[in-house]
């Protein structure tokens, strides 16, 4: 098993407040890794540090051994690490297909001249982008929604579209921030299916989730954050029995 992502002693401070304190974890290639914890535990902050939206205050993040914590978001995407957002950030006024095609940006090269002259490469790339975008939409289960506006899709479909858009960047590692939040049990089941399909396609998944049951069901390994610190890491069964985790989740009411 090879290590894909390592987080070493990452600290993030906002003013005097520490949102993350010396968090370390490793994600192996090919696994589904869950990141859980109560609200405000620092999960999304960690995601933002990993994907270049935040600079870390201290610590190192490596993808395939290469430090990425002081890279810009687009450079990290270029290295094969894509993400979705907790509060869905689609380009709401573009069509679903256009959204996914934007995801092809990092994998295409056409410049101004090529675009204006309709060079052979430009046309080929454009065709290829469209083709891939369509098949990705089919993959996430949005086959006939290409022409709909992203903003007009149902909530669940928007989540799927965001995943398709992230997949268009050809990630090896895909970070999903609460991908089933607000979904009903049926939709959740379908999403778990999708996660398995993604893993089978060889994509490593990093999952932030509140729904402990779902996390335990799909994840190979899990880390628990609380107040910006990692309090546990391991296979789901281990973590579930960890007293510190029970304490964090139930506030010590049951012991």
């Amino acid at each position: 098993m090879t290590t894909l992502l390592t987080v070493e002693n990452v600290t993030k401070r906002f003013g005097g407040l520490s949102a993350l304190e010396a968090v370390s974890l490793t994600v192996n290639a090919g696994e589904v890794y869950g990141l859980i914890g109560p609200n405000g535990a620092g999960k999304t902050t960690l995601f933002n540090c990993m994907t270049g939206l935040y600079t870390v205050s201290a610590g190192v993040i490596r993808l395939d051994g290469v430090p990425i914590h002081n890279r810009k978001p687009h450079q990290i995407v270029g290295r094969g690490f894509a993400r979705t957002f907790q509060n869905i950030r689609l380009f709401a006024n573009m069509t679903a297909l256009e959204n996914v095609m934007v995801g092809r940006h990092a994998r295409t090269r056409t410049g101004v001249l090529g675009a204006v002259l309709h060079s052979r490469r430009c046309l080929a790339e454009e065709r290829d982008s469209r083709q891939r975008a369509k098949s990705l939409m089919a993959f996430v289960g949005l086959k006939d929604r290409s022409r709909s506006l992203a903003g007009h899709l149902s909530y669940g479909d928007q989540r799927r579209l965001e995943i398709a858009r992230a997949l268009a960047t050809e990630p090896r590692l895909l970070a999903l921030d609460e991908p089933v939040a607000g979904m009903n049990p049926n939709e959740r089941r379908e999403m778990s299916e999708l996660f398995r399909k993604l893993r089978d396609a060889g994509i490593t998944l990093l999952l932030i989730e509140h729904d402990v049951k779902l996390v335990m069901g799909v994840c190979d390994r899990v880390a628990v954050l609380d107040y910006g610190k990692k309090i546990a890491e391991g296979v789901p069964d281990e973590v579930r029995r960890n007293p510190a985790v029970i304490e964090a989740y139930l506030g010590g009411a049951v012991s």
């Binding site: 939206l53 687009h74 950030r89 101004v112």
Partner: protein, 370 residues
């Protein structure tokens, strides 16, 4: 464009042919119907269309408010004047000078944009405005101790464009008909307008255009999708600036004379108005805006004549009234038809989905580490 009749919609080839014929004979129709002076107005409409289409790349596509756009126009015009007028005794051919002007303007666009484009949109507006003023102040004052710009007097006797010995700046008799310079320049400007339209259209439909649309909608999400937001914004800025420079060169050759006065802030604002009025991001809309705002002021001149006819004297100088009306129109447009007369599909949606947009904008600043 809902206003296109159905039968034209069904025969796009025919529509295209009709339009081509109309554009080809337009200067003759105009000069017979309205008088020769109006061909000049037509020329300016095309020149402004080029400018507006260029600025539209910056404002309409990438969503960056540039209030100093006229500075790039000025750079192109001055470069043309320096390289082909008695000012320095240089008379280089236009096919060398025009692209140089576009290049110079684009280069300045990069110089100005590189440090400022990571700022929030409204800061960018003010910085570009300041840049516009700086350029104008320099043009106004660089006549001493070394005379570079000839100061407020401006540069005179700029070479007209001449293609293979055929000067566009002189009267020619073709098939027994006297044809005047504005008509020749009309065809030249029409060519460059079509060129600009082609570039703008193709860019809009490319991965670059999609990237612009994406950063306009949500910069953070765009960055997270692998778009180098700073470079792609810089590209929009440089592209827009180049078209400004190109139009500036055309202007200098057409007028034969330039001075700093032609490049004040109000010109920048006017070009912005054309975009806003016509429909940001939409090529036909922008062209409509440019044509309307060039022709309307000329038409408003008749207001003076009407006043004299009706009241015996001019109560309000129509020139004074003109800008006032523009200002009111700008406010009214934003309040009642914010997406413009011919809005692009996406823009119309953006203005309809107002609620989301404001919040997205507020959240569009992420850790700037550049």
């Amino acid at each position: 464009m809902r206003s296109v009749p159905d039968w034209l919609r069904r025969h796009p080839g025919l529509a295209f042919g009709l339009l081509a014929v109309l554009l080809a004979v337009l200067p003759f129709i105009v000069s017979i119907g309205l008088g020769r002076g109006w061909v000049r107005v037509l020329d300016f409409a095309l020149l402004y269309a080029i400018l507006a289409l260029g600025l539209n790349i910056v404002v309409g596509y990438a969503g960056l408010l540039d209030l100093g756009y006229i500075a790039f126009y000025a750079l192109g015009a001055y470069l043309f004047a320096w390289l082909s007028s008695p000012q320095f005794g240089l008379h280089l051919p236009f096919w060398l000078v025009l692209p140089s002007g576009a290049l110079l303007a684009g280069g300045f666009g990069v110089l100005l944009g590189a440090p400022t484009l990571r700022l929030r949109g409204d800061y960018l507006a003010i910085v570009t405005l300041g840049f516009g003023e700086i350029v104008r102040i320099f043009m106004n004052n660089l006549d001493a101790p070394v005379n570079i710009t000839n100061g407020p007097q401006g540069i005179n006797l700029i070479d007209p464009i001449s293609i293979g010995g055929f000067s566009l700046g002189a009267r020619h008799t073709i098939l027994g008909v006297h044809v005047f310079p504005p008509t020749f320049y009309y065809y030249l400007f029409l060519f460059f307008t079509l060129f600009t339209i082609l570039v703008a259209m193709r860019l809009q439909d490319s991965r670059i255009g999609r990237a612009w649309a994406a950063i306009r909608e949500d910069e953070v999400a765009a960055a997270a999708m692998g778009i180098d937001t700073r470079n792609i914004k810089l590209l929009a800025f440089a592209m827009g600036a180049s078209f400004g420079g190109l139009a500036g060169g055309l202007f200098a050759a057409f007028q034969g004379f330039i001075s700093p006065e032609s490049f004040n802030l109000m010109e920048s604002v006017m070009i912005l108005c054309m975009i806003v009025l016509g429909g940001m991001g939409n090529i036909p809309g922008v062209i409509l805006g440019a044509v309307l705002l060039t022709v309307l002021p000329e038409a408003l001149r008749y207001l003076g004549a009407w006043q004299r006819a009706a009241l015996g004297h001019v109560v309000v100088d129509p020139n004074d009234l003109r800008m006032l009306l523009f200002g009111l129109a700008m406010v009214a447009m934003m309040l009642y038809r914010p997406a413009g007369l011919l809005p692009s599909r996406q823009r119309r949606r953006e203005f309809r989905a107002e609620d989301g947009a404001a919040e997205q904008e507020a959240a569009s600043l992420y850790d700037a580490k550049a």
